[in-house]
């Protein structure tokens, strides 16, 4: 039992790393996903949008583990070593962007296109229309989808253990190998994940404010 207690500080450090990495990834995913959803907004045909859709389809279909390996093992093949942490951030961010792009795209569909046209007709710049008219409306709409994905990101961080990132599950595996007490460690690990995820889950249940202006 004492050995297990000795691992607790290491697990907590791992938890901090999990939280940190997740925060970086889901922030990047949300910001870039939002920006991408606004690209060529309103255009009928856009090769750029088609490209973004293809990108989104790719990174939503391929397992995160494979994308991670692509950067971790593939990077050095072309001379760039992202390292475990770098590969994790890039891989998960790309997947996150692909998903969040869909979330924000869906939210944008709810806002009547007329508002955008009206804004432009009034002489407002595109930037102002985006910043002051569209984004404030899509944020509450997208919130549930975005946070659900953010919660998923925290859990998916466990996959980074496959490239030796010292996050919760990696340290857990080491603990199991060293002490031969799998159940104790896995319960601790799952407990930690639940602890981290619960505040986000609770926040997600709150009712969204009236979103679309009518």
């Amino acid at each position: 039992m004492e050995i297990v207690l000795a691992w607790l500080p290491r697990l907590l450090v791992a938890a901090a790393l999990t939280i940190g990495l997740s925060a970086v990834v889901f922030t990047l995913s949300a910001v870039v996903g939002l920006l991408l959803s606004l690209v060529h907004y309103g255009r009928e045909k856009s090769w750029l949008r088609n490209g973004i859709e293809a990108f989104s389809a790719f990174f939503r279909s391929v397992p995160e583990l494979v994308v991670l390996f692509l950067f971790f093992f593939g990077g050095p093949q072309i001379g760039i070593d992202f390292g475990p942490i770098g590969s994790t951030i890039i891989a998960f961010a790309l997947v996150g962007i692909a998903f969040d792009y869909q979330v924000f795209k869906g939210a944008l569909k709810v806002v009547p296109f007329g508002q955008y046209e009206a804004g432009l007709a009034l002489g407002l710049s595109k930037r102002i229309v985006f910043l002051r008219v569209l984004i404030p409306q899509i944020l509450p709409l997208a919130r549930k989808g975005w946070i659900t994905y953010a919660i998923g990101t925290v859990k998916r961080m466990s996959i980074a253990s496959a490239v030796s990132v010292s996050e919760i599950l990696y340290v857990t595996k080491q603990g199991i190998a060293a002490t031969n007490a799998p159940f104790t460690f896995l319960s601790l690990a799952v407990g930690l994940y639940i602890l981290i995820v619960t505040p986000l889950l609770v926040f997600n249940e709150r009712k969204p404010k009236q979103a679309v202006a009518r």
């Binding site: 691992w7 050095p76 001379g79 340290v171 060293a178």
Partner: protein, 267 residues
């Protein structure tokens, strides 16, 4: 005076040259004055993680000795075995020290330098104590074999055993998972090295299993060096040559394996 001066100049030249070539290996290192080492941390007792989470083992000791000799700091990075050689080829590490078996393919490979042996070992069966029907490599046909992913033993077994002898096999990220599954009865035997599991049994880390003395073949192991750093490979090879003769490697073998190495078995 003339001869003395010439002798002095010659001495300086010799030292100068050897000093220069000795420093050549520093030029191609991944990080300055550091030797970046890839190891699995799950290949006991070559490379293991102890209860405090630190790396230790035969390989760790060898690398630390090498680093001291060459005036470098050793920095270890852990990665599952299957990722080590690709990582070396891709320039992530200077050196791999993880009980790398010297197979003909690896020795012929231009992707890295596999050095002269630092230990003599063998391909052995480890099975549960209770399974007395496996007494040697002749008895494994039809049984489920386990091996480490990316390792040498499944190939060695396939080559040396009759065709279709072993049809069911499982692969694992490391020796730790391999022996766990042996214990958990998901495989009938583990095809692995001889010294490793013997150490585990002796130190009480592996219970209820026995490693058979029947070796399918002798194997030798060593470290692999990045093909971008031939001076490093040569320097370490030279060290190994010295250490084989002066008993340093034997001393380490005594510490970690409690076995005496018969260097004549190494080709």
């Amino acid at each position: 005076m003339g001869i003395a001066r010439t002798a002095l100049l010659a001495l300086i030249a010799v030292f100068g040259v050897s000093a220069a070539s000795a420093q050549d290996y520093k030029a191609a290192l991944v990080a300055p004055d550091t030797i970046t080492v890839g190891t699995s941390g799950s290949a006991p007792p070559f490379s293991m993680t102890n209860a405090a989470g630190e790396l230790e083992g035969f390989d760790i000791d060898v690398v630390n000795l090498v680093a001291k000799q060459l005036g470098l700091t050793a920095k270890f990075e852990k990665l599952d075995f299957a990722g080590l050689l690709p990582g070396l080829t891709a320039g992530r590490f200077d050196l791999i020290a993880s009980g790398v078996t010297r197979t003909p393919e690896r020795l012929a490979s231009k992707d890295f330098f596999l050095l002269s042996p630092y230990i003599v070992n063998g391909a052995a069966i480890t099975r549960r104590e209770a399974d007395t029907d496996i007494t040697s490599w002749k008895d494994v046909c039809g049984k489920t074999m386990g091996a480490v992913r990316g390792g040498a033993f499944q190939k060695v077994a396939k080559e040396k055993l009759p065709a279709d002898c072993v049809t069911k096999s499982r692969e694992y990220p490391g020796a730790t998972e391999l022996f766990l599954d042996l214990e958990n009865r998901r495989i009938d035997f583990a095809a692995h090295d001889f010294l490793g599991p013997k150490y585990l049994a002796k130190s009480g880390k592996l219970t209820g299993a026995v490693t058979l003395d029947d070796l399918l073949t002798t194997i030798t192991q060593s470290v692999a060096v990045s093909n971008k750093n031939k001076p490093l490979a040569d320097a370490i090879d030279a060290q190994f040559e010295t250490w084989r003769k002066d008993g340093t490697l034997q001393g380490l073998a005594d510490k970690w394996f409690g076995a005496s190495i018969d260097w004549s078995k190494a080709q």
